[in-house]
Symmetry: C2
Subunit: 208 residues, 2 copies
DNA sequence: TCGACTTTCGGAACATGTTCCGAAAATAGC
DNA sequence: GCTATTTTCGGAACATGTTCCGAAAGTCGA
């Protein structure tokens, strides 16, 4: 009695969920940067090209797997006070400012901004729209921003697993001009800058 | 009389400026995405691996070439009215918001923000700092953001040469959650959103 | 003149993502 | 059973970035 699976043709040797599970195993072992198509195929005991019958490309595969990790990040609790809610919105927007125009706006919107609405939504739309306005076609922007997406979710993953915050270090060599400005305005302490900028965002969001 | 070049060893068959010029030729012909190491070497009539004796990797090469293009972008003229200067600052910041955390902040800072100073500088520092605070180590962030840098400068190049603005099109499929929000707040017209967001940024920048 | 030294060159090889296309393995119809 | 059909599999091949290492081509000192 041949095993039937409800349709014609050669039976699949694996499935998309199995592929994602194997990818998770590799990521947990060595990190998402070390995931290669051939390694993943070896982990599954199949040929490398077979993967391309289950996912469009490696890009789609990583998006699928890393999105699973992103869903593990607990969402912040929304305060009752509207002004405090605005603070949460501003913080969320700051995450978007850190380099997540599309993908991160999507991710963030899914869990948080959709419940805030109003000016926060508008400002995020401004952020997202700015990328397009700067000359991006959506297709290319999505492709480029995806690497940011990988990176950010990869960092989220690190945080989930290690519960440790990576050391925050600025290398002046990486930002010579900003560093030069910092020398000309030595009064700009890091904490002051943070609070000032956050206040700027919040005051811009608050109604008069 | 053997040609002397002032030092010992086999004479170089090419130089870094020649490599950059050849890269520019390829970029002008087919765009920066089509630049490959082997193609560039063929353009120069040398072996592919020889390039690695003049630049560290393709990354450095593209940064060098595209930075030349970036320098061609004319800087906006600074208005006299301080409040109008703030508008220019806000616009510049919006460019940074579009996804240029480090490299673009550098690029923008070099020509513009360094002359504005004050709160504009602080807010850009907030933007840049946010990336680090979200868990980026500078090394990896620079690496990831570099692709944005390529992309953005590539677009600048397109604009320089064609003087045409790429069509601005939003594909709702790329941003399902934002699109869903847009449907729930249909009153958010694009122009209103733009002005509101710009006003939010400006009012946050202006002193009380 | 001639060997020693120094610097650069570039072919061969490797890792990786991806595509092509024929083989393999099941079912369906007769 | 046997052929046709359908679906999946995966080896071979290709493009690309990069490294290794021996060959090539100069200068320098005796």
């Amino acid at each position: 009695m041949p095993a039937t699976h409800g349709r014609t043709g050669r039976p699949p040797v694996t499935s998309r969920p199995e592929i994602l599970a194997a990818a998770r195993r590799l990521i947990d072992a060595d990190g998402w940067e070390k995931v290669t198509v051939r390694r993943l195929a070896a982990e599954l005991g199949i040929g490398a090209t077979t993967l391309y019958h289950h996912v469009r490309d490696k890009d789609e595969l990583l998006v699928l797997v890393l999105s699973e990790y992103a869903r593990q990040v607990p969402l912040p609790v929304l305060p009752e006070d509207p002004r405090e809610r605005i603070v949460v919105a501003a913080t969320t927007i700051r995450q978007a400012l850190a380099g997540w125009p599309w993908a991160a706006a999507e991710f963030t919107t899914d869990g948080l901004l959709g419940r805030l609405g109003g000016p926060a939504v508008q400002l995020v739309e401004v952020i997202v729209g700015a990328a397009v306005e700067c000359g991006c076609t959506p297709e290319r922007a999505v492709h480029v921003f995806r690497s940011l997406w990988y990176y950010t979710v990869g960092e989220i993953l690190v945080r989930i697993r290690s519960r440790a915050r990576p050391p925050v270090v600025f290398a002046p060599a990486d930002t010579p001009h900003l560093s030069a400005i910092g020398e000309r305005w030595p009064a700009l302490a890091a904490q002051d800058t943070y609070e000032m900028g956050l206040r700027a965002l919040i005051s811009g969001l608050l109604p008069e």
